[in-house]
Symmetry: C2
Subunit: 334 residues, 2 copies
């Protein structure tokens, strides 16, 4: 039985928002696994802000996706053929499988996931890279102490929502910045944040002052731009600013806006530190177990924004940069 794979290749380097013509939709026959390889049929493909960075032609923490190459993406699927002793047909696995229906892999960086612990999409959100980013970014880089105020931007987004809930689990005060009344209601009413700031209708700088009168102890930044500046303007002494992303800037066609008030780091003896979740790969199992326990105890919730169909990729990806997704964005395929 000859299977056919469909996939998205990078056709051109986008300027600003990726256009449909920046992608090539291609098809090819699916090859058989060679010795030590396995074949994965994708079920869900994770759409993440970092993907915008991967298609810029700049030196970064991973090489850029080349023109004509398969678009890089995390995904979750089922093993349909295996010549690798560590994986069996029927195993559910996650890894960097690309934007396609079938992935051949040698198994490096591939992790088995247990669908009995949680529904499959959760393994790409709260129990996947997204949740790990929140967990290690907040706890390892942010180092929140009980009673401190933790502020997170893109708070209804996949990472932000987890950050705020872990802050609450750690007995901090959690303040989220999100766009629109629905997202703001969600993080307070559903997720238990102490307060929400709607950046679309409020003066964020003033609202942060109101909601963190003693200053922000940990600011977890997913957005950059003027919201980062508003947070820097309200730091407490000794604050930690976790740089996780800058989604407001990823599709900018001009230079990235740097925080003009970064000298707040000096007056407040504060630090700003970048983190990349891949550095914590060895600690994922321990963190995943802790997160799963919090989920089982009802302390940690996640929401997934699942869009059907691989072919929708070029359009669905843009939801991230327009702030239109509500929860962890992913494609359902197969």
């Amino acid at each position: 039985m000859a299977l056919t794979n469909h996939k998205f290749l990078l056709a051109a380097r986008p300027v600003g928002m990726p256009k449909p013509s920046d992608w090539t939709y291609a098809e090819e026959p699916v090859a058989e696994p060679k010795e030590s390889e396995l074949l994965v049929q994708l079920l869900y493909i994770s759409l993440d802000p970092a993907m915008r960075g991967w298609i810029n032609d700049v030196r970064s923490y991973v090489p850029p996706v080349g023109i004509g190459e398969l678009m890089r993406a995390l995904g979750l699927g089922i093993v349909t053929a295996s010549r690798n002793p560590h994986f069996a047909v029927g195993d559910h696995v996650s890894g960097v499988f690309g934007v396609q229906e079938y992935a051949l892999t040698d198994g490096k960086g591939v992790r088995k996931v247990d669908p009995r612990i949680a529904p499959l999409p959760k393994h790409l959100s709260v129990l996947g890279m997204t949740g790990m980013t929140a967990y290690f970014g907040l706890l390892d880089t942010g180092q929140p102490k009980p009673g401190e105020t933790v502020v997170v931007s893109a708070a209804a987004g996949a990472v932000g929502a987890i950050v705020g809930q872990i802050a609450k689990i750690k007995n901090c005060r959690a303040v989220g910045i999100a766009g629109g009344p629905d997202k703001c209601r969600y993080i307070v009413d559903e997720l238990g944040f102490d307060a929400a700031i709607d950046y679309k209708s409020e003066n964020v700088r003033q609202a942060l002052r109101d909601h963190s009168p003693k200053g922000i102890d940990v600011y977890f930044d997913n957005v950059g731009g003027t919201i980062l500046e508003a947070a820097l303007a309200n730091l407490a002494r000794g604050a930690r600013v976790v740089i996780c992303g800058a989604i407001s800037q990823y599709c900018s066609t001009g230079p990235t806006a740097g925080p003009s008030n970064y000298m707040s780091l000096l007056t407040n003896r504060a630090m700003m530190k970048g983190m990349l979740v891949m550095d914590y790969f060895d600690r994922y199992p321990q963190a995943g177990a802790e997160m799963a326990a919090w989920m089982a105890a009802g302390k940690l919730k996640s929401r997934e924004d699942i869009v059907e169909g691989l072919a929708t990729f070029p359009e669905t990806l843009l939801k991230l940069f327009k702030g239109e997704n509500f929860g962890k964005l992913m494609l359902k395929v197969g």
Copy 2:
């Protein structure tokens, strides 16, 4: 004998470079010390970039100098009268005495200095707040390890020159950024830096790449602006950026330029941290002893740029912001 004090008061909040009309030169009779007070005759007044910040009407780590108030400054003088049991006539002391000839103080924050250890001006430079800033900023915030590359801006300035020399003492590679061939020659030939970059004639970003091919491990920033960006563009993984000052921005009349490539902190898992020397007050004696030993061993040199006359203050201060001082700038008074 009625003594007369001359002093500079802040007359108006400067916009950009302070103008002569932003100051009032005043005179008054010198009062006698009251119970527990001492009278200090100033000998040297330290001129520091931070002074520009102290006259802005913004919330910072110290309250701004008010209009009509004595201009704040560090200084060094001799006790000429004392009703404080901790200080005797003839003691040499340093403290925040202001831009004036005589200071009455209750002794809080006043430290005795020993002129036998080093000539008096050294106690305001390498053995004073300036040296302490370099010492704690580099060692405590920067955490350099042997073999690492340390880059410092304003490297021929009072703080920068010490930073580079301590980096060498700690077996690091020291690269300095300075303005003009004289300063560049000085830091390499006299102070033992491994390399100098002349920001006035070189492309700093490219030169940093050439001089730190494995990336910058510690960047000690005194200047901000495009030089900070050039350093961020060349960080090594896990780099530490010490935010000590931003002299290129202090007299800017527009908003401070934030580093547009701050996301380099993320791709390099780097941190940027502000430091204020006053936080280390309790550790000055230990650091001072270590610095004095390095001086005695010929490993640590300093240069002072001493200008005569209190009355020159408005004009002399500007040397800092024009990059015209060469070494620690101070006024000789009395």
